[in-house]
Symmetry: C2
Subunit: 336 residues, 2 copies
């Protein structure tokens, strides 16, 4: 019997990173229709950083959450409507409750890989509202398999119905994925998923490896649209899974058509693996740091790549942008 | 002790496919300098289909072979100058002898995977001229490991000093590569190499797998510039090999700089995995067929993807473009 894989598609959320959260209403509509026609089970939408994240600091979205969710809801009948939720950006009273009203089906509640504790109330709220809730552990390469399991178990105890680990920096090699996914599959009683990025050209094989290690949920975006080097390219994934005999329920030709729709509707060219993406993957640092790193490199006359590796050694995570200046200053001082 | 890998870089040859053989003299010079500075051991140049291939039928090159080779020779001191040679396009008397005079170091004599016989005189000529000669088996997924070994042994008997197998259609999965490379490594007395394409997102992992199976030569192009979905992306490969402890002798930062040089100097955007590339990878058909297939699809009002899969079932290879019409006609007839 063919192994069944549940595909969750954050093109209209992670892909928003690639256009500084400026995806147009037409893009949302065109892609929702194309994804639904192809049989994509879950379509995730919103600001790149999720519900409630639109702000001057992390980037203002061209459309409000309200607007995005009601537009998407209108154009998704068979596909579930999903959102990314980071407690801190997303409040329960204002954002989560409204998303429930607007008909979101799946709440993917995310935290840095060692901070699962912050997700308890959000997960509980979504479940009590009768919605699906998953736990998502971001930057998961920064935690050992044992620690990841411990954090995932917390989310399971809060009511999460699945756990997805993200390779946010595109730092994993297949062996890393295998070790972590199999640890989670063995230790949890809920499905396990994987969300890849392509900084080291490993997104597809890492996703295949995740399935071989027992994962049953895989994230992918059309044309790879996403932050930095991009995500696991969904239509390639569908082709590869079909060849390997994994059942996704997605129609190959129609998902290829969806790639053409996105290529025509979205503004940017498809992501590619830039030199700085490679360094961010090797250093294990989120590629969203690229811009402030470039600025600091220019200000302090040091090499942006050295800053990335310096951030990697310090285990820098999003929100710690001040470390960039610290590293740049040290490099400048060491030079002369 | 770190495993040593010899990197051969056909950016200025396979990359020429991506611009219909119109790479400029400035591009040749800029990239030769950047590759040499990074310590790339072999730089392969020329028309996409190799020495003597420039023609109205397969595409005219903006520069003559003579011009390309003398330009490249002038800017390569440490890196070896390599060329791709397909007997039929390349004559011994006119093309090969002149390339020897112009100082080419390495002749990569190529044939379809079951046609090694046609390479005997070209290999012998290059060896007798005191040059290095390798045998290259193209579209290697179309032959079983046993047949590939037989063909490679012929090339070895002609004097080839290494054998490279090409995944011209980007059709391989890692297990396919492992099986073929290990068969060759066990059965031959000369080094074995792998040349990947990225149609199914497997170019990097296939190259890693080739090394694990015993290959010691790997091809890669900067930014992945190459036909269709592109080649194995060289600077990603260097990063990944460095992480795995394989020694390439290439400087990571300088090869990342070379990527920036190419991005600025070459005309096209970096290749990405288009819907038709995926189909060509799945079907195991050379992506160079894309244009005539699109034309036939329009003429006969059938789906280009169906034509690709039809060609795959017929084991179509380059030169058999008439099969495209045959398949298109059959599909149109079946539609009614």
């Amino acid at each position: 019997m063919a192994k069944k894989i549940l595909i969750s598609d954050p093109t209209l959320r992670d892909g928003n990173h690639a256009v500084r959260h400026q995806l147009s209403r037409d893009s949302f509509i065109a892609y929702c229709q194309a994804a639904e026609a192809a049989g994509v089970p879950i379509v995730e939408v919103g600001h790149g950083n999720g519900l409630g994240a639109s702000s001057l600091l992390v980037g203002e979205c061209s459309l409000s959450d309200e607007d995005i969710l009601s537009t998407a809801r209108q154009h998704l009948q068979r596909s579930l409507l999903g959102i990314h939720v980071i407690p801190g950006f997303c409040t329960i009273r204002k954002d989560l409750s409204r998303a429930v009203e607007l008909g979101v089906d799946l709440f993917r509640i995310a935290a840095h890989c060692t901070e699962a504790d912050i997700t308890d109330r959000h997960i509980a709220y979504a479940r009590e509202a009768g919605k699906q809730a998953w736990g998502v552990l971001m930057m998961s390469h920064m935690a050992s398999p044992a620690v990841l399991l411990e954090e995932a178990k917390k989310m399971e105890s809060y009511g999460a119905e699945a756990i997805v680990i993200m390779d946010s920096a595109g730092a994993y090699f297949p062996a890393d994925v295998h070790e972590r996914i199999s640890t989670l599959v063995q230790g949890l009683n809920i499905p396990v998923g994987f969300h890849g990025h392509n900084n080291l050209g490993m997104a597809i094989i890492n996703s295949v490896t995740a399935v071989e290690a027992g994962a049953s949920i895989i994230d992918g975006t059309i044309r790879g649209f996403g932050a930095g080097a991009g995500n696991t390219q969904l239509e390639v994934l569908v082709a590869v899974f079909e060849r390997l005999g994994f059942e996704t329920g997605i129609d190959l030709y129609k998902i290829l058509d969806a790639a053409d729709v996105a290529e025509k509707t979205f503004n940017p060219v498809a992501p590619s693996i830039s030199p700085l993406s490679i360094v961010s993957g090797l250093a294990g640092v989120f590629s969203g740091f690229a811009k402030p790193v470039a600025r600091a490199a220019a200000d302090y006359q040091v090499d942006a790549r050295d800053i990335f590796f310096g951030l990697g050694k310090r285990n820098a995570v999003a929100g710690q942008e001040s470390l960039i200046i610290e590293v740049a200053r040290e490099l400048a001082a060491a030079k002369g």
